[in-house]
């Protein structure tokens, strides 16, 4: 009798676990159940999503890389310079709410799928969250905007910090997005940090290192810094086009360097990955030569002096300037 009771309790516990951990749809490939997202189950709050990809322990040994990355706008990828946050709101209002078949009549209707046009790059881990996280993200964005309107600095700052709690942090590049070809190279595993080396990693949370086949390749950045329209989405969007320009113009006709070589190594910026906001990038990106002279232009008897200004610009970067 006691034995039967014990089995019943175990069955109930398993059932309970199945109810509280939202599961992912089955994937065709082998090993996806070892990913952080599959092991954690879908996040139901922004805090849970932040915890799922919490990389705060990395700073214990990687202080320099941490400090560098904090200066990069990747560390506030949803908030940006505030303009990104505003653009997501615009996307909801001028995009989703005006699209007759989106299913969004008000910001409360926004689901994860609706936000992936932005989040594919600004918060790729949102794909590992329940729709409740999309709603929380949207309500935080509107709370922030409302606080700004009311000049409530404390509330605006609180919402801003919440928006900055989920970012493109160490784990997004060094785990979640460290493998693009998952059927060839396997799915990124929980507890593993992907980089240039394999072996043990002195960390309780991430006890193993593994080589990412793409960490030094342009495609690592190209996952977000785009080809053009994201045609895999039900409603395609287009933001970055620099990876497309890199592939079809730079690689085709100009050079062989990778994104990382220019934006991280040659610039000496390391994990402070920058574009136009840093002189290390802008000083090298464009040659600008101007020549100016004047003379007395003559059209028959009519003399009309003129100045001639000749400008030459050579884009020395690996992609079109600007992109978009």
């Amino acid at each position: 009798m006691n034995k039967v009771t014990a089995q019943g309790a175990l069955a109930a516990a398993l059932l309970l676990a199945a109810l509280v951990v939202p599961s992912f749809a089955e994937k065709a490939g082998i090993g996806w159940k070892e990913t952080i997202a599959a092991k954690s189950g879908k996040a139901r709050t922004l805090a849970e999503l932040a915890k799922m990809y919490d990389s705060s322990s990395c700073v214990e040994c990687h202080q320099e890389e941490h400090d560098q990355s904090r200066k990069s706008i990747h560390s506030r990828s949803i908030y940006g310079t505030a303009r990104t946050a505003m653009t997501i709101i615009t996307t909801i209002e001028n995009g989703l709410m005006e699209e007759p078949y989106s299913g969004v009549k008000s910001p409360k209707d926004v689901k994860v799928e609706h936000l992936m046009g932005c989040a594919k790059c600004h918060l790729p881990q949102l794909a590992d969250a329940e729709d409740s996280v999309a709603r929380e993200l949207v309500s935080t964005l509107y709370g922030w905007k409302d606080a700004l309107r009311k000049k409530d600095k404390a509330a605006a700052k609180k919402a801003e910090e919440k928006l900055k709690s989920v970012t493109i942090n160490c784990l997004i590049c060094h785990n979640r997005n460290a493998i693009t070809h998952k059927w060839q190279d396997g799915y990124p595993k929980a507890g593993v940090v992907y980089g240039s080396k394999a072996g043990d990693h002195p960390s309780d949370k991430f006890p193993k290192m593994a080589e990412s086949p793409i960490m030094s390749e342009a495609i690592q950045c190209g996952q977000c810094h785009g080809l053009g329209p994201n045609l895999e989405l039900d409603e395609p969007t287009q933001c970055c086009t620099s990876y497309g320009s890199y592939l079809w113009v730079y690689k085709a006709e100009v050079g062989q360097e990778t994104c990382q070589e220019c934006h991280m190594k040659n610039s000496k910026l390391g994990h402070n990955i920058q574009g136009y906001r840093d002189p290390a990038m802008t000083d090298k990106a464009v040659d600008f030569k101007v020549e100016a002279f004047g003379y007395h232009w003559r059209d028959g008897a009519q003399i009309t002096p003129k100045a001639v200004v000749k400008v030459e610009m050579l884009n020395r970067s690996g992609h079109s300037i600007p992109d978009g």
Binding site: T90, E235, F288, A307, G324
Partner: protein
């Protein structure tokens, strides 16, 4: 007396159809044209700026004379990440020179 702007950018096509330019990422899905600076390719511009003229009497005739013999020329390359000089503009390169023409001669 002379002010001319040229815009270099990929011109997004609204919803990948027709002749309307898109603005937000949610409505951009193609290009109408791309006037941006391509990697590795020289882009040249030329500006011909006529000096301002005044009509003056000279030896009983009305003739045109430059109202100035020196022009201050400025060329600025701006990066406008949000398409407006009012929002996070970045002055990338600039050039300044006074261009002079001779006062004498036939």
């Amino acid at each position: 007396m002379f002010n001319q702007e040229k815009i270099y950018m990929p011109v997004p096509q609204q919803l990948a159809r027709g002749d309307r330019m898109g603005r937000g990422p949610y409505e951009k899905s193609g290009l109408i044209e791309d006037t941006g600076l391509p990697p590795g390719k020289m882009v040249k511009e030329r500006f011909d700026i006529m000096y301002p003229l005044d009509e003056v009497e000279e030896n009983g005739k009305t003739v045109n004379k430059p109202s100035a013999y020196d022009l201050d020329v400025e060329v600025k390359l701006w990066y406008l990440p949000y398409g407006s000089a009012n929002s996070d503009p970045f002055l990338w390169r600039e050039f300044a020179q006074t261009v002079s023409i001779s006062k004498g001669g036939k």
